[in-house]
Subunit: 328 residues, 4 copies
């Protein structure tokens, strides 16, 4: 079998087998989060060095989906993910997963805390461990690595530094010892991941859904954000999150990424989306998917699907007959 | 031919001949306004003593339509008309007409200004002539009449007062002499009349239309008016007028009558109406009709019919395929 | 004593004795409402033929105050009162009173219901008795009078009509017999009166106050009403009423009269008023006064006087020192 | 001289000499941006390894100010800077500077493009050079460095990689040769820096100012963002930027950082700030400072300082006398 065919064999589309990319190397939170999702059970898991590479593989059809980090409760947005989703070939979010971020300090077997002078880790992990390091290893030097798992892998391969900050899972993979098990600053640090595929028809509403939209403003339009929020609030749609990102065209030129309560199939969200479509230069739909926290959308009086359908039928009757509401 | 059949003969619906009611007696502005409208050319004009009687006749099918005053540039809303249209059997406005209010002081032939000590007129006409009377007939007594034309008719029939304030047309009808031709205070006093029928399918948009709606609030809903205005403004619909009227249930319980720019067939107004329908306890549509001033609706970017249709199609595509806007 | 001095003697301001005007003649609801107010106890009550005349007397300093009707739960606004207050020499509302409207059918002693063929009354009273008349006196003729009391007075003086519709109080005054005691259509019809004086410093807040404002828009300003409501709502001020009235300049040119919850001395209302002052062409303050229904204003989080004062002090500190809120 | 005194000697405050921190090492854009500002002329420039260290030094009074990056036109917000400014001991922005981001590919003298197999640089610089690298050095390996200058410095010291991506200024410092002078993807990539000190009274308005505020919401308050934007828009204050950042307490709990047009001394912004102060749990003022682009604030009718002062005086008069606007 030729290499080319072998490569194609790995494509889910051809073999009918699901393949899911994640941000490698082995042992990162991305893998841990992915393994905690049912969808990963009978799928091939494929590691990628960067978010961009994982999403490119989805776009190219080399894998079925990819799980990528989008937000961290202590560091905020993962900009590269937002930017990759917002432009280029369209992608859709199918699901989300919130995974606790627990960093461990790990070293080669036999190393004790007092031996540690140089630590390698990803800058984001360093940022979240700063407090612990200041208290427990005041004079230590921190060397940046491309990922926490790469720091652990390097240690296993005999790198010159003494320890790595990485998920506990990485210690297993690379035969290291956990010196301190949970050294993150924020007690409940959590990373939110999204499972992304090429555009597909939205799954049916689950009763607890979220919809992600990317909104590009018309040029030089002061008050655009107020306008956007009004389009949503007037139909009773709440936002759970709003992010602004630069368009990379000029300083001060932004687009917005919003997470709205509800599903694109909901009338209130659908009509809000048409309103946004008219008000914005472009609106990119990034998917409706079940919320990781299972919370139900709050529905204001007059904004159920039934209310919208009844109002549309009422309008049709008015337009056809001139008859509206009887009032005694 | 029996009396019953004769009565039915007068019904426009049966004979195919149009009959239009107006606020009598002969010689009022209502008649003058009606005669200035093309629709009156080949119609039977029927006078009624009150707005309520004219509208009851329309409701009962005794006449095809009625022209009734709805607003005066100096006295404001004609409350009885609004209240009659807002409740009871539904009616629709087909057209509107603005007619200048020019009052004349008239008397029996031979009477001069200095002879006049008692004048009869309708209180509204007195209100509009107050300035002129104070300057020109300071000590004069004004007697209230049910209408300006009734005052003129009474004069012709030998009433004890010396003059009447009425439209110049009334002098012709009743054989009186105009002593002073134009004595109204406000230079440009104008009455707006509406032509009302039983509900019919709306006429096609003329490009310069107005739509009248009656909005009943949900009980005890602070902020309802702001909500209403937002439903309209978010779709780019301007109001030309808003009136509050008591529901007659309790002091402080109101409904609103609004005149909106545009036609019920316009997408932006249609969608605003469905929004109002969901927000309000009841919405009564009182018709879309050509504006008397011929002014075109202002249409904000993103609110043409084409914009609405395109956004709806866009939503349909998103719902079916997950594909929205491409952004490079 | 010269005539000039005599004239001045009649001025309450000079003699220290309060005089209060009301809409006569004796026996109207205006008088009944006024007598139910404590302020009338030791005051001279002076009747006037019209609202305009009563208010002119206040403006001229001939009387201390006047009680005039401003709104009726079934007929709506008393336009003449609104218009008189909105323009001309400034006046202020000191207090309000809600008085039930109970109309009685009265006649000369010895008249029975079946004798009645012609009834005199004010058109507003006729409007409110229409249902009763249609049921109980179907063929009766109604003659308009300048006031309900005038109809009763005329009857007493031997007028040609058989009965009058007027407040029961009028029967006492004019020696008439009540044929039917309560013939108004709406069960709970109530007229709201306002006690008006020349401008004075507002009374201290009572804890349950209302403030009336007249708002004149800038020319041709679409969206002005939405702007006005936003100025109020953003500071947590609720409206209990809004009326539009024509400016008498052109059809479609209106001003608004609003009743807002709260007192001009309240910070939230004061700041809303300055916002309105900047947004409108003119704002006329018509007084802060205790609500007739004793209801307390609802106060949203962050809008107490303390919240406003604290925020102002906070701003002052920021401006002087650059220090604002500490956030750990 | 004791050590303690020596330590105090290094404090700018004591010696009267200005010292300004920047993000080192020597040769970064931070230094280039700082050198382009007049304030750096007679100041001691002190390098720091991280934004956090530079700001801690300002807080501790060790240096007078620090210049730190806050936003990049292609990468977006510098989260660490926002987070450092938003919490902890208060700091104030005195000025801003926008500096073009031009990356050069540099190597040890004698290296040609075709020799390059491994490049070191900061991940942000890699992100902005990705397009150029893909086109010109397709198979190259990129090694992460703590800063672009560190990559250049390492190269000079004989590191094992072949080239560095850094500002051209770094080549001068470290004796390297520029192989390709401008390899950034975005044509006009610009970094915005802010000059930060401990809180001081704001400088006088320059006519073209911006004010940065940090807004902490009340818990679980849906619609808070709409409320915030309304507080600003109702007083005619435009936003040039809004960022949401996690509070690090729970996923989905954010604060907002906004840049508003205008100066804290402006009435419209001052009143908007008091409104925000009442609506939010906390508002941190981060300074009013001249805009780098020199654009003037747009001022809506009714929102000049004069308009606010006049409205306040008007309210005072109403409160004292009951007199407001005369309307004829």
């Amino acid at each position: 079998m030729s290499a080319a065919i072998g490569a194609r064999d790995s494509h889910a589309q051809i073999q009918g087998r699901t393949s899911i990319g994640f941000l490698g190397p082995r042992g990162t939170f991305s893998e841990a989060a992915l393994r905690s999702m049912e969808v990963s059970q009978n799928a091939d898991l494929v590691e990628y060095a960067t978010v961009g590479q994982a999403l490119s593989a989805v776009r190219a059809g080399e894998i079925t989906m990819a799980l990528v980090p989008i937000e961290n409760s202590s560091e905020g947005t993962v900009s590269v993910t937002l930017d990759e989703l917002a432009t280029g070939e369209p992608l859709c979010i199918l699901d989300e997963q919130a995974h606790p971020v627990e960093f461990a300090l790990m070293a080669r077997p036999g190393t004790s805390l007092t031996d540690i002078q140089q630590i390698a880790t990803h800058p984001a992990a360093e940022a979240q461990s700063r407090g612990w390091l200041a208290n427990n290893l005041p004079g230590v030097t921190v060397i940046p690595a491309t990922s926490t798992a790469a720091a652990a892998a390097g240690l296993a391969e005999g790198a010159s530094y003494d320890a790595a900050i990485a998920p506990a899972l990485a210690a297993e993979y690379y035969g290291l010892t956990v010196v301190a098990p949970s050294i993150g600053d924020a007690d409940a640090a959590v990373t939110r991941f999204v499972l992304v595929s090429r555009p597909t028809p939205p799954p049916p509403p689950s009763g607890s859904d979220k919809t992600t939209l990317v909104l590009f403003m018309r040029a030089d339009h002061t008050g655009a954000l107020l306008e956007i929020l009004t389009e949503l609030s007037v139909r009773g749609v709440n936002l759970t999150r709003i992010e602004s990102r630069p368009t990379k065209k000029a300083l001060g030129d932004y687009f917005f990424v919003v997470d709205a309560e509800g599903h694109v199939a909901d009338e209130r969200l659908g009509q809000a989306m048409t309103g946004l479509r008219r008000v914005c230069a472009a609106v990119r739909y990034l998917g409706s998917y079940p919320r990781h926290d299972g919370r139900e959308s709050s529905v204001r009086t007059g904004t159920t699907d039934g209310d919208f359908v009844a109002a549309d039928q009422w309008l049709q009757r008015v337009r056809l007959t001139g008859h509206s509401d009887n009032v005694s």
